[in-house]
């Protein structure tokens, strides 16, 4: 699984480390040696018993030859500009917008294609 595809919300650090290690075809012992720790420490990270610090995580991923991007973004595709436009309206105008939309919906008719 590509490391970049993981969402922050579901980020499982232990699984991330395990996935990176397997991607690099390293044993836990080999990875431990590469980052100056013990095999049991790597095992605990992967099992979720201990959570690796962010700088340790970066070192582990580097040892596996990969990097992970950590950035924040909204996890939806909501058009916030549209929300701000509506927030700029008065409640009365927002209500009127609903009535207008209802009239437009009712005025719509299915298009019949001839020929």
């Amino acid at each position: 699984m590509p490391l970049r595809s993981r969402s922050l919300r579901r980020l499982d650090v232990g699984e991330l480390i395990r996935s990176a290690r397997l991607t690099a075809s390293l044993t836990q012992a080999a990875l431990a040696a590469a980052v100056g720790t013990t095999q049991s420490a790597v095992s605990r990270w992967e099992a979720g018993g201990d959570v690796a610090r962010i700088d340790t995580l970066a070192a582990v991923l580097a040892a596996c030859g990969v990097a992970a991007d950590l950035s924040f973004r909204g996890h939806d595709d909501v058009d916030r500009a549209q929300i701000r436009e509506h927030l700029a309206l008065t409640p009365q105008q927002r209500l009127q917008a609903q009535a207008n939309a209802a009239r437009w919906r009712q005025a719509m008719r299915p298009v019949t294609v001839h020929g």
């Binding site: 595709d77 058009d79 549209q82 927030l87 309206l89 409640p91 209500l95």
Partner: protein, 165 residues
């Protein structure tokens, strides 16, 4: 009533207000009043469940020529528009001469009027004043209902909450 009438939320709210119906507006129209750009075809209200209020609501429903909304019957079905009847049902889906109106005594995920009114927001409109369920309560109710149409608007409502806070 002659065929479906366009949704006229201003008239719906005005008539409810004119009859002194104590209610909290919930659902999509409530979200729209908070600033959601989503559109809706109906109004959802949670009435205060008292005998006197159901009587006022019944009078408003007569004014709105409310009928039971049902598939295959665009005009709706007539029903007993009395306070006694309204007090006996928890949920009503109605068609009125100002569009569709849903009445829920205990909307999904809520304990009803007494709970919703505590965090409701008052909006002054041109012709009436309306109590609107808080955005948090609307989101919670939609999360509880968990229908596809509820799930579809939740990202927008959460983004709206982020924008407001």
């Amino acid at each position: 009533m002659t065929g479906p009438r366009p949704f006229d939320p201003q008239r719906l709210l005005r008539v409810l207000g004119a009859h002194g119906v104590e209610h909290v507006l919930i659902g999509g129209l409530a979200a729209a009043l908070h600033g959601s750009p989503t559109t809706t075809n109906d109004a959802d209200i949670c009435p205060r469940p008292t005998s006197a209020n159901f009587t006022r609501l019944a009078r408003a429903l007569v004014d709105l020529d409310a009928r039971i909304r049902t598939d295959g019957e665009p005009e709706g079905l007539t029903f007993d528009r009395s306070g006694t009847f309204l007090a006996s049902v928890a949920l009503l889906n109605l068609v009125t001469d100002a569009g569709d109106l849903d009445i829920a005594v205990r909307p999904s995920g809520t304990a009803g009027y007494d709970e919703l009114v505590r965090s409701a927001v008052t909006y002054e409109l041109d012709e009436t004043t309306v109590l609107v369920a808080s955005l948090d309560d609307i989101i919670h109710s939609k999360e509880s209902a968990d229908r596809p149409r509820d799930r579809a608007v939740l990202p927008v409502l959460r983004a709206l909450r982020d924008e407001i806070s």
